[in-house]
């Protein structure tokens, strides 16, 4: 049992992979596969937030920025692919058929450039932003508000540049995805499988980071940043790595969101969208491995089932759940299992070994 314990999360990821990649396509209708794909995207953002916030203590309230970078990179590529070589996107023709394609669109015709940009853009933006903030020791609420403001700024920028970016209507009506016809069910399943596989990869990355020395250092930095400095490390660099990894995950999620949902608008990346991304993580348990992903999927599911049938009620239910979780389970629903385990432990060992009283604490710490 003790030998097995370090590998339990890996087994969990394996089970999750089978459920997503084998069971789901076999039993779900196209409608739900598409929805599940969308939840996977939010889950990928959430896994990154779990790393940056749960383990690194950085309340990233503006992951919409990086989600948006990836989403718009992909959406511009798919828009150009749909328009065909040498042609303008439809929404641009509506404004001015004779205007040339804006220069910054041009490189996104290339498949390779698009794929590289999805990963590299968030690395560049998050590195510059993170370096500036962490070296200046901006943290806590200031950090949270700043990232949130950036998400708002990006959303406003896109809204206000309707001719170049499609504005509030966003980019939509994509027909092709790197040569595959998006209307085809088989291709839709393929796109879903890619998103699900990427989610699994992100979970593996966070699992490995969590068990690595870097993971221990990240938690140490979260809990006592100054102390880490006095051990000879620069906490800014440690936080930067986690922040950049989270940004890349958000970007990848945004990129997959576009072919799955078929539309991207500033509303999907602004303040409320960014907060919803955090909400799932808080609900599931920010410091755990599966909590953020499952929490995000649960919120996604709630939104598409309850949210569409009873939109006004849904937002109140979400608010209520959020309050209850913060009050009674500050470490999210995933801390329930730890608590249950430690209760069982205590009742089983209380009579026999008083020394074992420390064991439940150990349990919680190891998570």
């Amino acid at each position: 049992m003790t030998k097995l314990k370090p590998w339990l999360p890996l087994i969990g990821i394996g089970v999750f992979a089978v459920l997503l990649l084998v069971v789901a396509p076999a039993v779900l209708s196209m409608h739900w596969i598409n929805n599940l794909g969308k939840y996977c995207c939010w889950a990928i953002v959430a896994v990154g937030i779990g790393l940056a916030w749960g383990r690194g203590g950085m309340l990233v309230l503006g992951q919409g920025v990086f989600f948006g970078l990836g989403a718009y990179t992909m959406a511009m590529h798919l828009t150009l692919e749909t328009a065909g070589p040498g042609s303008l996107p439809v929404f641009m023709i509506l404004y001015d058929p004779s205007a040339p394609l804006p220069a910054f669109w041009e490189p996104f015709r290339s498949d390779a450039f698009t794929l590289v940009a999805i990963v590299l853009l968030p690395v560049i933006v998050a590195s510059i932003l993170g370096y500036a903030l962490f070296k200046r020791r901006v943290k806590g609420a200031y950090f949270a508000i700043l990232t949130q403001a950036l998400a708002v700024a990006l959303a406003v920028l896109i809204s206000s540049t309707i001719r170049e970016t499609g504005g509030d209507t966003g980019l939509s009506d994509f027909k092709y995805f790197f040569g595959f016809v998006l209307d085809d069910d088989a291709n839709k399943i393929m796109v879903f499988m890619i998103a699900a596989a990427l989610l699994i990869v992100c979970l593996l990355v966070v699992w490995q980071l969590g068990r690595s020395r870097f993971g221990e250092l990240l938690i140490a930095t979260r809990d006592a940043e100054e102390r880490v400095r006095f051990l000879g490390y620069d906490p800014a660099n440690i936080k930067l790595v986690a922040f950049v990894v989270a940004a890349v995950m958000a970007s990848i999620a945004g990129a997959m969101f576009v072919p799955i949902v078929g539309i991207i608008t500033p509303a999907e990346i602004g303040a409320s969208a960014s907060i919803l991304m955090i909400a799932g993580v808080a609900l599931g348990g920010r410091a755990s491995l599966f909590g953020p992903a499952l929490g995000a999927m649960a919120i996604g599911w709630g939104q598409s089932s309850l949210g569409s049938s009873w939109p006004s009620g849904w937002i109140y239910i979400l608010g209520l759940v959020f309050i209850l979780v913060t009050l009674f389970l500050p470490m999210g629903l995933s801390s329930l299992s730890g608590r249950a385990k430690s209760l069982v432990w205590r009742s089983r060992t209380a009579a026999t070994a008083p020394a074992a009283a420390s064991a439940p604490v150990l349990e919680e710490v190891k998570k």
Partner: protein, 272 residues
């Protein structure tokens, strides 16, 4: 000069918004001695250590061997070989004893190796566990260690870094008599090869383990020398030993003076 070099503080000054906490302090510490820095509450002892380790900005000079420390960033000073502990033990409570030591030992590891999980226990960590008597507690979360054990863990975290100088801020505050003895002996062992500078309130502990003592008062050096010499100094007796009897010393131990510093600065803030 020995090969490791000494810690030489010359005319160190630290000001907080015009308030002179340390006003021109000079002293040195050599490898092989347990050097003590004592003085009443608010004398500027912690501030001296803060300045040496880069936490507070100071002027003057602090040299470790030929290397000037003032103006260097906190983490670089650690990498130059200066470790410190804090008045209130600060270990990573969520991590185990072993993880705490492992993080401390990692300062010279390559960034890439950080991405791997820890396998086995490095010899330096094993010997630090033994040296500090924490071998049986290696899997214990640092947060549930006793107060004394936390201080030892902090000392262990310094040891695995192989520092040239160890600065300890009130390491035995709140410890039992046995724990004090163990700590004193540990410090004497460590000091055989390294510079050890101890800030203490506890006079008895100072008497038993100090080789040389510097007494600070209101940010200035009041007296310096061997224990007997300092104790015989009438100036010292007046400001510290004479007025601060056993009862006051005990009271000082109970209230870490970090708390006083905070309230001080708060009241100062309100006054302004």
């Amino acid at each position: 000069m020995t090969t490791t070099g000494s810690l030489v503080v010359t005319d160190l000054r630290v000001e907080f918004d015009g308030f002179v906490a340390v006003g021109g302090v000079s002293f040195d510490a050599h490898p092989g001695e347990v050097r003590f820095l004592i003085g009443p509450n608010g004398a500027g002892k912690t501030t001296c250590i803060d300045a040496i380790t880069g936490l507070s900005k100071g002027s003057g000079s602090v040299k470790l061997g030929d290397q000037e420390l003032l103006g260097t960033s906190v983490n670089k000073i650690v990498r130059l070989g200066v470790g410190r502990t804090f008045q209130t033990a600060s270990v990573f409570e969520q991590l185990s004893v072993l993880q705490n030591l492992d993080i401390a030992a990692g300062l010279h590891r390559s960034s890439l190796s950080l991405l791997r999980a820890r396998r086995g226990i490095e010899p330096a960590i094993e010997s630090a566990l033994e040296e500090t008597g924490l071998s049986t507690e290696r899997e214990t979360p640092a947060g549930i260690l006793s107060h004394g054990q936390k201080q030892w863990l902090e000392i262990g975290m310094m040891l695995v870094q192989e520092p040239r100088a160890l600065l300890l801020d009130e390491p035995v505050a709140g410890m039992s008599q046995d724990e004090r003895t163990a700590t004193g002996e540990l410090l004497q062992r460590i000091a055989q090869r390294r510079i050890v500078l101890v800030v203490e309130h506890d006079m008895d502990f100072m008497r038993r383990y100090a080789s040389r003592v510097t007494v600070l008062h209101q940010g200035k050096v009041l007296s310096e020398g061997a224990v007997a010499q300092v104790q015989a100094d009438p100036k010292v007796q007046e400001v510290y030993l004479g007025t601060a009897g056993a009862a006051t010393t005990a009271a000082m131990l109970a209230v870490p003076d970090g708390a006083t510093a905070t309230t001080d600065s708060i009241t100062q803030g309100e006054g302004a």
